[in-house]
Symmetry: C2
Subunit: 320 residues, 2 copies
């Protein structure tokens, strides 16, 4: 199969047709329209087999997640997803692998209203590079640098499930087949919070997606905004399945585990009511976990309000 045939067969129809794509796949470059009074938001992530996912990961999950992590970056800016490009390096042109990969990619592209406009495929070690493009009204992107002392800190959905999935898969935590299936699904198929991110334009003062663990990612907001924060450990949102294992695993996977792709954002006091109104419509839910303070650094408090110290040396590999 030539590169051209491969693209036609597996990738020409990824995502819905969009009127703002003037020239899509097939010329030297794609040509697209950005709406008036809007800015373009651009992000890129590279996933390498054996580094970002185990070599035995199903192709469907690789295609899905490669796009999901980029959509999550758009969500964290409050951007509306529009297009994506892809560089795909493959050891061989394997039809069933390509079929599954393009299906996983296509399902999420359809669900998100984002469409593939170009790319490059070549022979080499398995690696997927995706670049995602979105829009925000001029000046309305939600940056990491906007948090101010007094702002409340919120997190969407649940934290730590992906970390438990990884612990179970590596044999470090004994899970039932049912639990493993559910946690692994959260690890392999994160839901990027694009709708939630878009509604937070003009509401959140700063935002990031939780890819490296809440402590590390909130730390990026604190650094960019030159502020500090206190977070109440027991207010971190965890799933009912996680809660069933709480005594055994503690809160470290929720505090410092990665790969959840939830949104962490800050809201000034005068906009908290508006935020709660908006969040009432979110099926993923939202939790208030702490507040931004003037003193630099992240302070994690336990149930008694004392500084939290991890009791489990075994979870140190979560610190990043």
């Amino acid at each position: 199969m030539t590169e051209f045939e491969l693209i036609q067969q597996y990738f020409a129809q990824i995502g819905r047709q969009r009127d703002d794509v003037v020239v899509g796949v097939g010329d030297d470059a794609a040509v697209c329209s950005v709406p008036g009074n809007h800015e373009l938001v651009v992000t890129t992530d590279l996933l390498i087999a054996g580094v970002h996912f185990p070599d035995n990961t199903p192709a469907h999950a690789i295609g899905y997640k490669a796009l999901a992590v980029n959509l999550s970056d758009l969500a964290a800016m409050g951007a509306t997803p529009a297009w994506f490009t892809m560089t795909l390096s493959l050891p061989e042109s394997n039809a069933s692998w390509l079929q599954e990969f393009s299906q996983g990619l296509g399902e999420l592209a359809d669900a998100s209203g984002i469409t593939l406009i170009g790319g490059d495929t070549t022979r080499g070690a398995l690696a997927v590079g995706i670049q995602a493009y979105g829009f925000v009204a001029t000046g309305s992107a939600i940056l990491r640098s906007g948090a101010r002392a007094g702002d409340c800190i919120f997190v969407t959905g649940h934290l730590g499930d992906a970390a438990l999935g990884l612990l179970g898969e590596s044999g470090e935590l004994a899970l039932s087949a049912d639990e493993q299936k559910i946690f692994s699904r959260r690890l392999r198929y994160p839901t990027p919070r694009n709708q939630e991110g878009m509604t937070l334009r003009g509401v959140a003062s700063a935002m990031i997606d939780v890819s490296d663990g809440l402590a590390a990612d909130l730390g990026h907001i604190l650094e960019a905004s030159r502020v500090g924060a206190s977070v109440r450990l027991m207010d971190l949102p965890v799933s009912p399945r996680y809660r069933d294992r709480l005594e055994q695993v503690g809160m470290d996977p929720a505090l410092a585990g990665g790969d959840d792709y939830e949104l962490c954002f800050t809201v000034p006091p005068e906009r908290i009511e508006r935020c709660r109104e908006l969040a009432a419509a979110w099926t993923c839910g939202v939790a208030e976990i702490g507040s931004i303070e003037k003193d630099p650094g992240l302070r994690v408090l336990d149930e008694a309000g004392h500084p939290y110290e991890s009791a489990r040396a075994g979870y140190n590999h979560f610190s990043s």
Copy 2:
């Protein structure tokens, strides 16, 4: 060195500062302004060590060429270069390699007025993915599909030098040290024709860059435009150094060799005078090599006007 430090040290200053970059490297995504009444042009290429360049290629040349091939795609659309993103996979964080690589990349970025706005670096086999972004006034991108019977076919610069450089490096052609140096430089450091491409907006009816060889790339124009063409072999522009070797190597490297990154474009009869006026200012020169015809297919004619057939079986590896 952390990924953050690596980016700060080697990549934060690539390209000039641009007013249209609202948020550059360092947040979840970059935010950029596209000028009013303009469309965004997006292209991406992935270069893998051992596939697209020999493993011993100097880092400076890899950085330069990875950007050059993408700038050439923008040139082929008539687009004005604006920004680029990069995904870089590296086996190890080698300071001298990174220093040279970022210098090669930075020199061409500065010369082209394009600036790095984001990316992703990770550990893995050496691979460089670059995505380049440019603008065209709405509706003025020069596509492959616009050629019509009666249009003249032009090519910028010289063809075949890069192919001779490759033949010399592989030992298939004995070259003097001086010749090898010059031809290898054309192979490693192609000059993307962005200025020339931009001036052809409203003049050329179709355009492509010559990356896979003139015959193959002109073939893409013919296919997209549903036309054919006749090309006069002896009118293909070759350099004085190539001409010195003409008797030995023939015209096949110019007709079918790749990696020259010149522009091949078509011009309707009524705009040829305008095209010649514009081209008079180009230091790379331009050659008229044939014309677009109604009958599908590419006809290559020798000096006597007869269909050309390659006499040298040894050059068959050029056909693509």
